[in-house]
Amino acid sequence: MRKTIALSYLSVVLLGPLAMLFWRIWAEGLGKAWTAITEPDTLHAFRLTIEITAIAVPLNTIFGIVVGLAIVRRRFPGKGLVNAFVDLPLALSPVVVGLSLFLLYGRTGWIHLGHVQILFALPAMVLATVFVSVPYVAREVIPTLREVGDEQEQAAHTLGASGWQTFWRITLPSIRWAIIYGVVVTTARCLGEYGAVAVVSGSISGRTETATLRVQNYYENLDQSGAYGVSLVLGLIAIVVLVVMTLLKPKEGTA
């Protein structure tokens, strides 16, 4: 009984819509979807999305490890505040993120870098994407660091290892799966970012339009096969991400 209710709910809310991804592509015709995917502006949108992701993910990976170590292993003033700011993007609307950047780097904003165009260009889109994906590596690293404890690190220290040696030989290997899991989730978040980038990019086709903005563009121009074509690519990436997440996850809760 409860099994039936749970699975029915999942079908209505999640599995049904997911099935539409393939159903609609089938109905629209794979050929038309392919034409849309290989259009120069669409290819540019994918390239731009990949570029932004390639900058945001390494930044947040390093930051996530550093901030995770600081929160778990150190005591410092303002720790509660740091913790709150790391979590904030999880609870904050991406539009609010975009608007904040818009106000900070806009005409009346506080920051201007001479002739370097920030808004409606790559820098603002990168800043927006980095902002929204700040928490994911940190949130995976923190509980793992707590769980492994610091006994091995202290032992290494007692035996004369330097801080770097301890980090590379002891700490990093013990949290590597958490980092990889965090990187996968961060990547998915960056590829799918819409709200914050929508505010700061100006969405000009062939210039500042990312893959998700491309979907909206196709949809608003009543090009269904275009919208579903780009969505299919994004959806397939999401499914790959999901498979990797499942493989990486420890067996707890699934057995």
Partner: protein
Amino acid sequence: MTTFLTVIVALPIAALVWASRADGVSGFWYWIRQPEPVAALKLTLVVALLVALTNAVFGTLIAWVLVRDEFPGKRLVNAVIDLPFALPTIVAGLLVLALYGPDSPVHVHAAFTRAAIYLVLLFVTLPFVVRTVQPVLHELDTQMEEAARSLGARELVVFTRIVLPSILPGILSGVAMAFARAVGEIGSIVILSGNRPFHTEVASVWILNQTQSGNGTGAAALATLLLAISFLVLLGVGGLRWLATRHERA
């Protein structure tokens, strides 16, 4: 580390709060009392609350089924739960529109209604409660439940007296995160709600529209309010975490 956090997160937030009171405190109040943003915020909060409550019930049920029941395809279902975290939200919006929109194969036409907003938010918030409750349920010792049953307790009593107290902090923090997510969601809503003022326009869409039409102060006023809600939710979740680990610390 602090520099990164300041430049990336804190400075933009400060600029937002600063801009919201660019026309003085009265300017802030003026904008958050205008009928259109008030209607948008009210709709957002009511729908988010409904979504959070729905997740409390069905998220817990799904977690329960995934931990306690056996059925073919269970591993696959368990994996698919995380899909909304991996899928771009605008794609989620498009898919819900495809199933419950004008060309619906199941003949449900909910596009551009409040019901569509509710449905798509259920999609994007699905994992929160399931993933906070599942590990707690998994570690729960079933001996207490069996003891209660052998002493004659009915199933409902077993659940409310024995299981629920242990999983309640998990449910609540999942619900809080789902609520925050629903309040701030934009990507999945923007193409399927129609964004009609006073009807299907949510707070984040109003902010986006105002920003694009040059009303930075109005947008900043409502955005500051959403920011305050986010901080409150995080504070609540922090409090719950503190309560849940109370016994470990003692």
